[in-house]
Symmetry: C2
Subunit: 234 residues, 2 copies
DNA sequence: CGTTCGATTGATGTCAGTCAACCCGAGTGG
DNA sequence: CCACTCGGGTTGACTGACATCAATCGAACG
């Protein structure tokens, strides 16, 4: 069996700088400079990476794993804002302003992160405008995703909202399969509910409905170790 | 009486480059270079500036006036995403990617805009990384606003959603007044409804409720020439 | 085998959307 | 000056969809 990921410190560092889209335009000498500045951390599933209201020390990039970004609302509900995985970054809001985090971040699975201190990163940003452009592109696509979310939340048809979120997961994590696109859901029913602002029971019901209509097919409904999977049919 | 705004072409150009936060870090020589590249246009109230799906030629900056950014949904509703006014910019999404506009933009009042062609702007961006940083900051605060919107849409308490949007307007357009913060609403009831995803009647009812509770006070309810105003009480 | 936790299902209540009527101020035109 | 229309705002009654509450199920795990 081939060992797919080398676990030594150096390779992980390399991976981080090389795999991440925002550094992709730099040559390897420049990437090495970044590598030398990176601080690594490992979080286990369920661990809190950032607590809403705390201070952020720098830009955080996910090297391996998956996290949810969320807020706990006054009403006691949890609103999930983003699901981030390998290559995604966060903490960018606080690179310039000195404000507290506006959200909490929790590891959905065991997760390796790389951190670049605010001051270091600012230096790079001025030296390599292309990094800034990459970040802008990413921020723009996040804006677009949030705009889509708001549109679909404003338009109220709950069933299509559930469909949309499954479709979003299919695009990001789906694998081609003869029966359709196979998705390992990153979230439980409750998680999905918190992502799109519904009650968990409603998500349950609507997913059954989508299955009855032949749009999706659920497999291993119950938690087989992680969440259930879904086929998005063609 | 002092003429507050000079209407000659040059001054308007100057204003545009000087007033806009994203160019604020440049010295006047650099600003003049930008000025020379700007294309100006005037739109009258109600006029469409951008149609969803059309091609964008560059970055657009609002010099004077106010616009709404929205999408027409399949269900026949209009979802307003942003209200932009003097100094705000849009079209940034298409500076790098060559995609069609994902929203329409309409002038809410007579509006002067300045446009910088995509290619010109990209050059500036690479020359002055600070511009990029300013844009990133602005994109981040838009993200934050959308995140707030999503949280409040997900959390469903309709009355506080109406309150939040009034508070947002108060922060952006409010003037101090002995009775509270005076806001000239940029949107009609229907507009507000389309902004936060409610029915116009519901907005009406909830605003009355907020008034009964002594949180706001409405003046000149009916359209006296533009929209009604509101005091946000202390 | 019992416990736990997520998912499901059913019954019920509530709140916002919808439909319809009406109000009111502003134009308009005779 | 008055009658008319027009458009936004308001109000009331009704309805339906989703939240809520409660019970049950079923897989995983000790």
């Amino acid at each position: 069996m081939i060992k797919q990921i080398c676990n030594c410190e150096n390779c992980q560092h390399q991976l981080c700088a090389r795999r991440v889209p925002i550094f992709s335009t730099m040559d390897s000498g420049e990437q090495n400079r970044i590598v030398s500045l990176i601080i690594r951390r490992l979080y286990t599933k369920g661990e809190l990476i950032i607590l809403e209201g705390s201070n952020l020390e720098g830009l955080i990039i996910i090297n391996r794993g998956q996290v949810k970004v969320f807020r706990d609302t006054l009403e006691g509900r949890e609103q999930i804002l983003y699901i981030f995985s390998e290559g995604d970054f966060f903490g960018e809001k606080n690179l310039f302003r000195n404000e507290q985090a506006t959200y909490s971040v929790e590891a959905l699975e065991d997760t390796n992160i790389c951190m670049i201190k605010k001051s270091d990163f600012q230096k790079f940003l001025r030296e390599y405008p292309d990094i800034g452009i990459k970040i802008m592109e990413e921020l723009c696509s996040r804006l677009e995703r949030l705009e889509n979310t708001i549109e679909s939340m404003g338009v109220k048809n709950v069933e299509s909202r559930v469909g949309s979120v499954l479709f979003e997961f299919a695009e990001r994590y789906g694998k081609e399969h003869q029966r359709g696109i196979m998705i390992e859901l990153p979230l439980s029913r409750e998680g999905i509910a918190n992502y799109i602002g519904l009650a968990r029971e409603t998500v349950s019901r609507k997913m059954n409905l989508l299955q009855d209509e032949g749009i999706i097919e659920m497999i291993g409904n119950k938690s087989v170790s992680g969440n259930c999977s879904v086929y998005f049919k063609r």
